[in-house]
Amino acid sequence: MRLLLLLVFVIALAVPVFNRAAPALFGFPFFYWYQIAAIPVSSALIYLVFRAEDREP
């Protein structure tokens, strides 16, 4: 499950993948909206790990 945390690094640091202007969304070039979108995605991944590991009620 903790491998999902590795995915956070891959998503956020894959610079060559997201260093482009198109496709734009709501006027935001890809570079910007991709990284903003990566924030809730990463948070969700950490949540999945938290839920799997959390032992308390």
Binding site: L13, N19, Y32, F50
Partner: protein, 506 residues
Amino acid sequence: MTYPAATIVFLVLIAAVIVLGFTAGRWKAGDMSHIEEWGLGGRRFGTWVSWFLIGGDIYTAYTFIAIPALIFGAGAIGFFAVPYTIVCYPFLYLIFPKLWRIAQRHGYITGPEFVRGRYGNRWLALAIVVTGIFATMPYIALQLVGMQTVIGALGLPGHIPLITAFAVLAAFTYTSGLRAPAMISIVKDLLIYLTVIAAIIVIPAELGGFGAIFAKVNPAKLLLTTPPAGSSGAYTGYATLALGSAMALFLYPHATTGILSASGERVIRRNAVLLPAYSIMLALLALLGFMAVAAGVASNPLFAAGFKHYGPSFAVPALILASFPAWFAGIAFGAIAIGALVPAAIMAIASANIFIRDIFSQFFAKTGAGRETFIAKLFAIFMIIGAVAFILFIPLTYAVQLQLLGGMWIIQTFPAIAFSVFTRFFNGWALLAGWAVGIATATWLAALNHFAGAIYPFHILGITLPSYIAFATVLLNAAIATLLSLPLNALASDRAGDETNAADYA
């Protein structure tokens, strides 16, 4: 007074926060003569208070001014703050709940105390202490700069307002301890969220939408430059800047203090999920840099004096003054100024915790609980006075350069703190040697950059690999600590000095 309405709103907010700071000591009251109460809020902050406190701790006034200023001046590279504040949370999730558990069981209130307990080596702990205090001092100073910029934008005269604000800060830090910034951070965050939401609704509407804003940015600054042949160029520069900053973030004493004041491991894990909400706010704030470009504030004669005095740091205050009615500018500036007081208070308290537990009691004299707290309180005031003196008497560029160096220094404590939570493979002296080499090479490489650039182009096997200096040197540090630990463990093992036990790490 250039902006009377804004100034009045600003002053009312600051005054309210000061009252809150003094009354905070009575909140979930404890015995304030005990250092765990004064300096760690009694380790009883739940998920939400911790969320506000840690958020106020790491998303500071300096960030709100400096990141948009970097985007305003240099473009896309400044957006590294977003991946930085994404990848810091897996580190928070993996490392710090364990550190909290060990600290709680053994009564530690600082990172260096854990390292001393783990290795029985007070010199290794001292190295971490010195690194922490040297990295923190310019950081507090830059919080003052953030505050100074908005005070200057309001047209308030001279240094008097700043000195007054920090005198009051020193006073409520003394009386209320960590409860003061915890409580104030709630107000600060509500104001910051309000400002950011208003900004992303109002300003793009004034400027013709986000598409129009990005269209006005110089295309060369909109994206990272594609690397030339034989080099990984801006790609590795950007990624290592984010990763290295993330590794360093929670090693700062003020961040550790914020984390250790949580009421449990679970609070920290939940915050690794919840704190990214601040990163969204930071990303939107960062884009204020481009909005300032599109609004043309730099060529507006109204702001010429401000830009001349504060440089690109004036971009956000100028944009706020240009886009909002004066009373709302007062709220926004109040939010930024309070955003300086919160981390400055935590930084002073964190430094004081470290001073009393890791310097005074180790190298001077053991003290009783009451006197321990009293000395810590005095040291917190000393840190605040030091930071004010820093700003008044030393050119600003030195504070910025020292802050840059501070990040490269503090990351060198990563092996000793982060690795030690998982393994006792390392030898204390090997970690100390790795730290020393890391500090020396990082400082040397920064000097080659004239203390102006964080990224150094390394040439390896005919390829150029630009890297954040902090990241490259901490790898060297870890390699040295590993290689030296092998012979040292065989010849002079220090495992007997470990006062923690295996059950702490399960």
